[in-house]
């Protein structure tokens, strides 16, 4: 195991860097109380809009709160929304994609036209419309983002399923009298797993970016709990000329997190499935 990690790091230094960033992000989210020197909503007396210093690494905001602490707590929102969405979306996309690709026929035709329709919406427009119906909040954010990424990923998983379903070993299994359930669980699923893992990792970057955009537009977690997108939109933009660090650090955090997911996803794709290299974004 350790040797495999070492080999991965040597072969894909950028991928290893991505993995490192992702691990750091997870640690920040899990141990925010220990890492952050202050609470996310604790005003610090006499430290309003202070520039970055030794006492406050990233400065303080207009309500005298420590920016570094808020950025650390902000990781929670990104990680929770990112991983919850990807878990749900991957499950949904696999069910829809595998069934659509395996059974084919009229079922496939209908399902794919619905997916087409979803895909022809700009993602922000769908999500905003869904959020208008559901209202803002963490759970609703996850639901809206899930519907969307599931549609995109199911298309790719369907393609992979069709390719696997045509192989001779599936034909052999059928000739031996295996039922659909056995063929799908024993032959199809293990062979599309690489595709699913790659889609999930790359999807994490896209979902994190989408979450920050929605939070930026005011459809995320309600204040005072910090999310990076919301930190940029509210006071971050109001005071951006007087206290630019308020608008800079949350953006750095988003970019680093997405960069980490993208790098890791790219490297995993190269290792797990060389055929897909450069095929998706």
């Amino acid at each position: 195991m350790l040797r495999a990690v070492g080999r991965f790091a040597r072969k894909k230094p950028l991928g290893a860097l991505g993995a490192l960033i992702v691990v750091a992000l997870l640690l920040m989210a899990a141990f925010a109380e220990r890492i952050a020197p202050y609470g996310y909503d604790d005003p610090i007396r006499g430290a309003r809009m202070r520039p970055p210093s030794a006492a406050h690494w990233l400065g303080t905001d207009n309500l005298s709160r420590d920016m570094w602490s808020r950025v650390v707590y902000g990781a929670r929102v990104s990680v929770t929304v990112g991983f919850a969405t990807i878990a749900l979306a991957t499950f949904l996309a696999t069910v829809v994609g595998v069934s659509s690709g395996y059974f084919g026929g009229a079922y496939d035709l209908v399902v794919q036209r619905v997916v087409d329709a979803w895909l022809s919406f700009p993602y922000l427009v769908i999500i905003l419309s869904v959020m208008a119906v559901l209202g803002p909040g963490l759970l609703n954010l996850v639901v809206a983002l899930t519907i969307l990424s599931a549609a995109v990923n199911s298309r790719v998983i369907r393609g992979a399923t069709i390719a696997v379903a045509q192989s001779t070993y599936v034909e052999a299994a059928r000739a031996l009298g295996c039922g659909h359930a056995r063929i799908i669980t024993r032959h199809i699923l293990p062979n599309v797993t690489a595709t699913v893992i790659i889609l999930a990792t790359i999807g994490l970057g896209a979902v994190t970016l989408a979450e920050s955009a929605l939070s930026f537009l005011g459809f995320g977690v309600p204040p005072p709990f910090p999310s990076w997108g919301a930190m940029l939109s509210g006071s971050g933009r109001t005071y951006m000329f007087r206290a630019p660090w308020m608008a800079v650090w949350p953006g750095v955090a988003i970019s680093l997190a997405v960069f980490g997911f993208n790098m890791l996803g790219d490297a995993l794709r190269d290792v797990l499935d060389p055929r897909l290299r450069g095929a998706t974004r």
Partner: protein, 314 residues
């Protein structure tokens, strides 16, 4: 032949458009009953709940509502805004061009970045230039547009005391200023799409450049420019055009944020305000126009395939 291919693509587009219209139509109707009451209390859109339901067309069977709505849409009637009481179509007539202009410039920037950089990156694979270009692309994919926009407004102000005007200029008033005001927002909007397109251009071109006929071209002593651009790029471009088709909705979606940040009175900003004001006729109308635009643009992308690769005929 080309005409038949296009007719077939058009036929496939119709069901997608119908399903999309059904989604557009259903979304506001998923509102729980008390939300109508909430709208009444919050915004006083109508005298009482019954009138508001009638206004929203929620008082008849769903199927009837859908067919009637579709019929009105076919006649160009998208209803009127609950907020401004003006016809949605009229509002869109002013705002859609702004969004399309922004999207057009963004797409132009994306292609202007993606194609040259992608080609150089592939032709000079594994050199310093290639590494720099690829790293820049990943950074471009990771940086959120709204942050980039904020930085581009803040940093020049702090360093040089220069602030961009957050004010919309009509084309008729000052054509130069009108175009200029789109350049920075469009560049930001185009960066992410450009990065994705660049990566694909590079990997597709690399694959093509390994083919036997490319080696033959080298052996014939053709110039590198001819080999890379004529033999290579032309054969690598189809997947890039496909990706371009899928990037279009993302670019148009991105206009929601960019228009808000830069104060451009486009369609996406209109939609965003309508969502905040729960102005359902506007949400429906704008969504329908957006989807139709994208389906049409995708049709244009399909037509482009046939031009780029004469072998493609369905």
């Amino acid at each position: 032949m080309l005409r038949r291919y296009l007719a077939k693509r058009l036929l496939i587009a119709v069901p997608s458009l119908l399903i999309a219209s059904l989604i557009v139509f259903t979304l506001p109707r998923l509102l729980p009953g008390d939300a109508v009451q909430l709208m009444l209390a919050e915004k006083a859109y109508a005298k009482d709940v019954d009138e508001l339901r009638a206004k929203l067309g929620l008082d008849r069977p769903l199927a009837v509502q859908y067919v009637e709505w579709l019929g009105r849409v076919a006649q160009g009637d998208l209803g009127e805004s609950l907020w401004t009481r003006r016809p949605v179509l009229q509002e869109l007539g002013q705002r859609l061009p702004i969004t399309l202009e922004l999207a057009f410039f963004a797409l132009a920037f994306a292609l202007l970045i993606a194609l040259p950089v992608g080609v150089i990156s592939a032709a000079r694979a594994d050199t310093l230039q290639d590494y720099l270009a690829r790293s820049a692309a990943i950074v471009g994919l990771s940086v959120p547009g709204f942050w980039l926009a904020t930085l581009l407004i803040v940093l020049p102000a702090i360093w040089w005391g220069w602030r961009p005007l957050i004010e919309f200029t009509e084309f008729s008033k000052n054509p130069l200023a009108h175009v200029a005001q789109f350049l920075i927002p469009a560049l930001i909007l185009g960066v992410a799409a450009g990065a994705a397109l660049m990566r694909l251009t590079r990997s597709m071109l690399l694959e093509v450049l390994r083919q036997d006929y490319v080696r033959t071209a080298w052996a014939k002593g053709l110039a590198e420019r001819v080999i890379v651009l004529k033999h290579g790029l032309r054969n690598a471009i189809i997947p890039v055009v496909t990706l371009l088709g899928t990037q279009l909705p993302q670019i148009i979606g991105g206009t929601v944020i960019i228009e808000t940040v830069f104060g451009l009175p486009g369609m996406s900003r209109f939609l965003f305000d309508a969502i905040n004001q729960r102005d359902y006729p506007v949400i429906q109308g704008v969504n329908l126009v957006v989807v139709s635009t994208i389906v049409t643009l995708n049709l244009a992308v399909d037509a482009l395939y046939a031009v780029l690769d004469p072998r493609i005929r369905y």
